[in-house]
Symmetry: C2
């Protein structure tokens, strides 16, 4: 965790981004969780330690992180954006019931060659898979209710 923050500080300096308390706290929060929080969630959590932070700073900061490759935006559901400090290649599992999002690696996919249409289409920057369905937790709850 502290390594992540150290790396983050270095990346900020290199990019010419000022290391403000807000950015540090927001990054720390994002890097310490695997649940892909929405901007609002990040705001609420950071607010506990830094009561004066404002929601728009969180939005602005997350946008900055995204632009500098320090965090990624996840488009699993369309109601609100979700964020991820994990910027190395990985794929997502998204539960349509509880809206949870989980990372997983899929090297067979990541190393697969893209079809010709894709190469002809233009300059690809990223490829990403999303599986949707119902997570086992939600399935369990459902069975209980059905009983």
């Amino acid at each position: 965790m502290n390594d992540k923050v150290k790396a983050f500080e270095g990346r900020c300096r290199k990019a010419g981004l000022k290391l403000t308390h807000q950015r540090l706290e927001i990054y720390r929060e994002l890097a310490s969780t695997y649940d892909h929080p929405a901007a609002d969630d990040v705001y609420k959590r950071v607010q506990k330690r830094m009561p004066t932070i404002s929601l728009d700073t969180v939005y602005r900061t997350l946008l900055t992180f995204e632009q500098f490759g320090l965090a990624a935006r996840v488009h699993a559901f369309d109601d609100r954006a979700r964020f991820d400090a994990n910027v190395s290649p990985h794929q997502h599992l998204a539960c349509t019931r509880c809206k949870s999002i989980q990372d997983f690696r899929w090297e067979a996919f990541e190393q697969m060659e893209s079809p010709v249409e894709v190469r002809k289409w233009g300059q690809v920057k990223s490829k990403h898979v999303v599986f949707k369905g119902i997570c086992s937790e939600c399935l369990r709850k459902e069975r209980k209710h059905a009983t």
Copy 2:
């Protein structure tokens, strides 16, 4: 095209959905294009032939189509939802510059077995790939400006 509409009518009857002019026009519009319009685009286009239609009817109708499997919502960008009358398996190419979205088939991917983590995660309903990058059209324009 007319086949699509005929099929659509059959599917509506079977599902107990009333075949209103609005639904027919919205479906016709969506099925006649490959550009994955947003609700607002559909509204503007349908409005030309049906000036009294309202935007919220378009939203409601697209939602209904989605729920009954008559159309699909595409989550490529997070600003607004995009829709697709193509509900058979296919993947997407999305240009971050012009926001265009293109379909393509990728059978090697579609037939690939999912990793264990996925099967353990829960009950998967769909899997979908999005490639992001810059389409050749945008690249061409960029080169022109750079000259």
